[in-house]
């Protein structure tokens, strides 16, 4: 049978991994597909010593791939959203199928890309855009397709999880671990996307669309990073039986969808709390299947290439098939996407962990509990830490389930108390149970 012809745009970390996996496992892949997969054209400004491209044609201008009749599938691995968007749309208009690992591109321009692909009857694979090599999009869109998905909660940024794990296990400070992550190559020189949660918000956008059948709505994701987490918080929550993980959470509340990325307390004994280092894991709760979890490397050259090549294989198997018969891009038929409202973070309900620094004198605690109570915030547990050299103590408390806006109102009033220090920490709590 005729080979499937693949053009690869971008020869960085993931591009070179994709070349290596396609070459090394060529025999295995041909056994799976029933025909060979051949790289016919690479678009890259410079070669990468991490892979040997032999005599494969190379163009410095990646747009040369778009016009090449010897390219059936264009694999976009250049990153960014400007040139990548132009490249992908041009390739689709020329009838090329697309595989991409670009989470920002799909989260921000996916609606446009999918519509264009549908008009031109081509397919777009983007499994690699979330959780690297873990086939979570396939699990959500196909494996769990029988379910009404209740919620998805994931550790979907390996850098952030590495930092929190090191802080947890070794009592090290955020800044120190971040510097090490940068030295190890886990974190970029500009770590904003990772530590401020933007990368996770891109991935959550994609997960939520496939879980609930809603359009991609990146701008509506509430996003909070891990830069304010201290080792004091990590040890305080341990006392209550929790760990702090940076989660992306998408939840169908029945009257709107919650989309939020933030540090979250989860019970120590759940599997997700035991996912450490740079690893990723996504938990999915379906109404029929109950809780499920998917774990693996969320980044890196070959783990990401694993998902890119899986998409190439799937496209290769399906190449002669009419597009309408395949699983739709977002798991649901395009005309069936729901218009469910995405909720504001103020409307989220959950328990909270709150840490305050207060002057160690009578009446302060009474003031605080009165202000909480006035907003309907009730306290489940509380403890007080030793007085420091300036006469301040840490008060750490866990609230019962409450609307975020109510807690915010109470905390704003508490912040105005003279005896209360500036920095008030609050972290959301998720039990990750079936409720």
């Amino acid at each position: 049978m005729k080979s499937v012809k693949v053009g690869i745009a971008g020869l960085g970390t993931v591009g070179s991994g994709t070349v290596n996996v396609l070459q090394r496992n060529a025999a295995e892949i041909t056994r799976r597909v029933g025909r060979p997969i051949e790289i016919t054209h690479i678009g890259a400004r410079r070669l990468n010593p991490a892979c040997d491209i032999g005599d494969i044609k190379v163009s410095e201008d990646i747009f040369a791939l778009v016009d090449d009749p010897e390219v059936d599938i264009l694999v976009e691995l250049i990153g960014g959203t400007t040139t990548a968007r132009d490249l992908v749309l041009a390739a689709i208009r020329n009838g090329k199928h697309i595989v991409t690992a670009n989470k920002a591109l799909i989260a921000e321009y996916g609606n446009e890309i999918f519509q264009t692909a549908q008009e031109h009857n081509v397919d777009v694979g983007f499994e690699a855009s979330v959780a690297g090599g873990v086939p979570i999009l396939k699990a959500l869109g196909e494996g769990l397709a029988a379910n009404r998905i209740k919620w998805v909660a994931g550790i979907i940024n390996g850098t952030g999880n590495f930092i929190l794990t090191e802080m947890q296990e070794k009592g090290r400070d955020f800044a120190e671990v971040l510097a090490e992550a940068q030295a190890l190559g886990y974190a970029e020189a500009d770590p904003t996307f990772d530590v401020e949660g933007i990368d996770a918000a891109h991935k959550l956008t994609i997960l939520a669309s496939i879980a609930f059948g809603i359009p991609l709505q990146f701008s509506k994701v509430y996003t909070e990073g891990i830069t304010r987490i201290t080792t004091e918080d990590i040890s305080a929550v341990d006392y209550f039986g929790y760990r702090i993980k940076h989660l992306g959470i998408a939840k169908d509340t029945g009257n709107g969808i919650e989309l939020r990325v933030h540090p979250t307390l989860i019970p120590k004994e759940v599997l997700l709390a035991n996912v450490n280092g740079v690893m990723n894991a996504v938990m999915v709760e379906g109404d029929a299947v109950g809780p499920t979890l998917y774990y693996g490397a969320g980044a890196g050259s070959e783990p990401t290439a694993s998902a890119v090549v899986a998409d190439i294989i799937e496209l290769s198997r399906a190449l002669t098939v009419d597009q309408v018969e395949r699983a739709p891009f977002l798991g649901f038929q395009a005309e069936q996407l729901s218009t469910d409202e995405v909720l504001s973070i103020e409307d989220v309900m959950c328990p909270y962990y709150v840490r305050l620094h207060v002057q160690d004198k009578t009446g302060v605690l009474a003031d605080i509990t009165r202000l909480l109570s006035a907003e309907g915030v009730s306290i489940e547990a509380m403890f007080q830490r030793d007085t420091d050299e300036e006469g301040y103590v840490s008060i750490v408390l866990m609230t019962h389930r409450i609307r975020e806006s109510a807690l915010q109102n109470a905390l704003e009033k508490i912040a105005e108390l003279e005896a209360v220090g500036n920095e008030i920490m609050r972290i959301r709590v998720e039990a990750l149970d079936a409720s």
Copy 2:
């Protein structure tokens, strides 16, 4: 678009769950598929109060479904391998697509069923046959299709895992926990399939075929149950940093495939060691992706129905598509299945945990270490437990990596020593690392 017509044979636990999920999530499923899925015919000797079948046609003779032109997909949920095999083959010959949750049927008769299906150009879905609602077959055959799979290791029998978890957490005896599992409905009145590992061996057979592209070879799986595990072993291995899990392991050694089901020591800190109760989890190590893990409910009415209905959805999406273009039954093209040899358990290499009861007198330990050493078995760690009322002590040791046959030879000679008690326990150890 025309509805897809489904016939369901068997209305037990999984059959009623399948009816309930298809009915409750009908709107969601139609949004995913692009056309409705309709149950047109049920074959069952008696109705099940757990589901409301309304005015769906019912036949006491399940073979009535085979001849019904109003059935596109026949869902086999009667269990067993005799009637089920006849039913499935007859339906295939009549051009019906098949979905089944029957692990014994696929593990023992899958080769014949797939060949017949290929001849008649119909598809067979069997995601529900392994790990219930966890979409592990799809992950292996499609999501990880870029990889050469190195090994698969899974907790794939919930009853066995429930028993070991209770023994671990509460120090209870095997027999007592088994009785409770039976009372709770986790274990059958005849628990042989679960506690002797036969159910896990069926599932491992299927996992291994999809991982490595080998024919289904149930008869070659080495199978050992959990009936001999004692609370003494569980606490002894804890001392060395391990937990005992009943694993199905399939490994490509490079010169043959290992297929084995047995109690296994795994390091406490790995995620798989923290999968407790009736939950299932499968770990897969691919050459590109590294380690990945898939976790969820491995049995029960709706979790299993979740996988059954996912297969119905996939078939419905693909119904007009030529069979050759879809993912092949075992992930690899039928004519490309490999003839790699399945290794005998004697050729397996791993470290071992060994527990002996010996008379507490001088020279015994020297005899034991001499006999181990003569077979090339070297000891990594050892400790001795308190002398019991009959003057015996427990010696617990961990060996370095050794061929099973060498350890067996040594243990046979050790068993002949007068000072050594009858019962010698040995449990295999897996580090579950990338090696």
